[in-house]
Symmetry: C2
Subunit: 201 residues, 2 copies
DNA sequence: GCATTATTTTAATCTGCATTAAAATTTTTG
DNA sequence: CAAAAATTTTAATGCAGATTAAAATAATGC
């Protein structure tokens, strides 16, 4: 129960702030965005942000926490709904992409983890590593159940995550593009995984 | 002839500086690295960097220029040496990856293009877009020559570039890992492209 | 070895933002 | 509607880290 954030005024504004910040950070870089830039998107003053967050570092941290939660949500759904490893991987990718380019986005790219204070950095790194590990487990499961051709799950996972994480770098809200991404990415990123195809080398 | 930088003292130090800066930026983020951080890697004072570069913005710009040059070098070699579009794509990926994880690396991730001054930003954006366009042309050529299955070249290109560009985020110099990356990535990123395989959906 | 040029350091200065405190305004509650 | 709580603004302050000028050292050419 305490898990689900109440939709009160505070949380609504806070969520708007995190989305605005994510957009700014993705588009203008961390150092390139001042708190004034973020607050301008909200029709507020820069100082007002301090009502929601202790400082800029925590703003980044919260953006990353939100990004991690959304990624995990997609992963959980994929795992729950997919029968084979391959299906789970494809569904995860689809859900994650849908979130990133849909109204719940933008999702912050985790480019500035090293700038976080130790406590926050370690938390984000841990959750980030766990995310990767779960995806690798899905791949391994796919290999075991015969839906995915044997491969180096670590490297394959890194490749897929990179392709996903990079999306906010070139997607900036164009709705037609969003549709295309959702339609294409799950296939593009899983086409190479499927078992039982000619290796064509 | 003027293209080839002389290997004099100045250029050698400058190159060391750009590599040190790329490493710092990749590992600690742009705002997380001070000029002192970079200079420490070179056994110099922060002020000494100003002998090689006008300011921090230009240091980033030069890192990105270098990254662009190395990427283009890999692309050129791939195009020259590959017979089919698929081979060209695979060779490009291999050469680019070799550069990124080899002694010529690290290569800076272009995360802070928006922080560059207009002139520099536009140059880097232009060269970056050209790079993507050339890769998409390779994919299209592969489709035309029958080596690559029909696909959305724009999206496929974005996916491959994302996977490549993200490498410096998780690779930090481990030589065994470097070998694995070079051995695996070209296959992982082209396995899904090849024509004439069961679609397995 | 002397003069010139290249490179680096020392020691300040400068400044854009982050940050804060207190006041003002808006919203909620009873 | 009055009082309390929540939210935002105004107006400073502070500081890390970029930048600069001048001096010091090292390299190079004649």
């Amino acid at each position: 129960m305490a898990q689900i954030a109440e939709a009160n005024r505070f949380n609504v504004q806070r969520d708007r702030m995190l989305k605005a910040a994510a957009r700014c950070f993705n588009e203008k870089g961390y150092s390139g965005t001042s708190l004034k830039d973020v607050s301008r998107h909200l029709g507020l003053t820069d100082a007002a942000l301090y009502y929601y967050v202790r400082n800029k570092e925590e703003l980044v941290y919260q953006c990353y926490r939100r990004a991690a939660e959304l990624g995990q949500e997609a992963m959980d759904r994929g795992r729950a709904e997919g029968a084979t490893g391959l299906e789970q991987a494809r569904l995860y990718i689809r859900y994650h992409v849908e979130i990133m380019v849909g109204e719940r986005g933008p999702v912050a790219i985790m480019s500035e983890i090293p700038s976080l204070k130790r406590e926050h950095r370690e938390e984000i790194l841990a959750v980030s590593r766990r995310h990767s590990a779960v995806f690798e487990a899905i791949l391994q499961q796919g290999i075991d159940d015969g839906s995915i051709a044997p491969c180096n799950v670590r490297m394959t996972g890194n490749a897929v995550m990179g392709a996903l994480n990079w999306i906010p770098k070139w997607f900036h809200g164009n709705p037609a593009m969003a549709e295309t991404i959702v339609a294409e990415f799950p296939d593009i990123l899983t086409r190479g995984l499927a078992a039982g195809q000619a290796s064509c080398q």
